[in-house]
């Protein structure tokens, strides 16, 4: 089943075109990796899909499970089943992870017409997902990302993804800032949470190393705002050894 259709997407920041006709289809059950050099538009693609203010879509369309994604506010996209994993997760002093995630999950549930989770049920769920990512529950009682190391922030992003249980995840350089052990834990986490017939992932990365743990079904090279080459997992290995210029 088709999950995400990006058709001829054009987007700009401050009047500067970044995405110039990007087309991509992601089916349920698939993991797609998007690789590309600096400045290719990888993070812009993530933010445009997330609906970040300041990223203006000037052409094309995006649908998620048949619904017009670009017509939704950012919080509605989350409710529609999308999760955006941030390259630089934001610190929110004074708001604990537990409060933040419980409010977020219950806001999504309420918007979907489901009953909100009780405090006890939420903590049980949070404990289970934190365990999956080997994150101490005490960390979840602390303020959102405040005082977390780069690796802890990325691990926390994956715990959030586990709790919110999206159908479709866009993970923007989730591997940056991770040491080898953390990379494995995060990779295992992505597989455990998102590797399912009714889910899909768009994995944005600079390097091939995360793909050793999260094996993509398709690899795309993004350069100058468009997908220039697509292939299977072997494409990532070729990129790693030969570089973007040679392959794309």
């Amino acid at each position: 089943m088709t999950m995400l259709i990006i058709d001829n997407l054009h987007a700009e920041i401050d009047g500067k075109p970044i995405l110039k006709g990007l087309t991509l289809t992601v089916n349920a059950g698939e993991i797609h990796a998007i690789m590309g050099p600096n400045g290719a538009g990888k993070s812009t693609l993530a933010y445009v899909l997330g609906g970040r203010p300041g990223y203006e879509v000037t052409g094309g369309s995006v649908t998620l499970n048949g619904a017009d994604l670009l017509d939704m506010d950012p919080h509605e996209r989350a409710t529609a089943g999308m999760f955006l994993g941030f390259q630089y997760p934001v610190e929110i002093p004074g708001v604990s992870n537990v409060q933040f995630l419980r409010e977020a999950l219950n806001a999504q549930r309420t918007a979907r017409g489901e009953a909100p989770l009780s405090g006890g049920d939420f903590l049980k769920l949070a404990r289970e997902k934190a365990g999956l990512l080997r994150m101490d529950m005490e960390m979840l009682k602390r303020n959102v990302n405040v005082g977390f190391s780069g690796g802890e922030k990325k691990r926390a992003e994956m715990v959030q993804m586990g709790i919110l249980d999206p159908a479709f995840a866009v993970l923007d350089e989730t591997d940056s800032g991770l040491d080898i052990d953390a990379l494995r834990v995060v990779g295992d986490g992505i597989n455990a949470i998102m590797r399912a017939p009714d889910k899909a992932v768009l994995l944005i990365t600079h390097y091939q190393r995360l793909l050793d743990y999260v094996r993509p079904d398709f690899v795309h090279v993004l350069a100058a705002g468009r997908i220039v080459t697509s292939g299977g997992p072997e494409l990532a290995q070729r990129l790693e050894s030969e570089g973007y210029e040679a392959v794309a």
Partner: protein
């Protein structure tokens, strides 16, 4: 009989001049006395949240070695001023947490004066102002440290949050220190809601009103952090956040 102040008076310069002109001059002689006997500890909580203008003036006398705590929320629809004058005994401590919050076109202000006339006394003030519409939040904080008041430790921390263009905040810290062995930390800053935090919260499914509420709650929470009684903390927070809920 007292004469009515005008905005030409330095201590009233950010007040609502039109409201001042209509005050009953007698109210200027009305002080609410809050005396704490030597060695004792006492707390007072003040809520100003009426529909008409309010002038609340508290004169605190903290005996030798005593502790006085004062927490207040100024959240009315009209001009309101909470004025606190504190006389500290030897080794006394004064703890203050104050919040002004609201919209419309009202001026809400907190005016404090710490009179450190004797040695070894400490005072700690945390003030937060949150305004929208064309409302104004003011903080005027004066700390006097007399020549003999050695080992005084007086801290003052003010932060203002402006939710919409058109609202305003004024801060005037004023320190007069005549002793040489003292600590007087003070800070004043004014800003807006963190846009990246708002987008991050939206990306997790929180609607804008809920994200704003959580961020404002975190912002004003600092003012009540030193209040040991959780029930009272919640009560103050509820009054403050109710003003945000009425936001038009």
């Amino acid at each position: 009989m007292a004469t009515l102040p005008t905005t030409r008076d330095e201590n009233w310069r950010y007040a609502d001049g039109a409201v001042l002109a209509q005050l009953d001059p007698d109210v200027l002689d009305q002080w609410d006395d809050f005396d704490v006997a030597p060695g004792e500890t006492a707390r007072r909580i003040i809520m100003a949240g009426g529909a008409g203008p309010e002038l609340i003036r508290v004169r605190v006398t903290v005996g030798d070695g005593a502790t006085a705590e004062l927490f207040g929320v100024v959240a009315g629809d009209a001009y309101a001023r909470l004025e606190v004058v504190v006389h500290l005994g030897r080794g006394a401590h004064f703890q203050f947490g104050g919040v002004t919050i609201g919209g419309g076109d009202a001026v809400r202000e907190i005016v404090t004066r710490m009179d450190h006339a004797l040695p070894d006394a400490t005072s700690d003030q945390v003030i937060r102002a949150v305004h929208w519409g064309t409302a104004t939040g003011n903080f005027l904080g004066r700390i006097d440290v007399a020549r003999h008041a050695q080992k005084t430790d007086a801290a003052q921390d003010f932060k203002g949050l402006i939710l919409e263009r058109g609202a305003a905040t004024n801060a005037r810290p004023e320190l007069e220190i005549y002793a040489d062995d003292v600590k007087c930390a003070h800070g004043a800053s004014i800003g807006q809601l963190d846009e990246s935090a708002r987008f991050y919260m939206a990306a997790r499914g929180l609607p804008p009103e809920l994200a704003r509420k959580l961020l404002v709650q975190a912002f004003i929470g600092d003012a009540f952090a030193a209040l040991g009684d959780e029930g009272e903390q919640e009560r103050l927070m509820d009054v403050a956040l109710a003003a945000l809920g009425d936001r038009s």
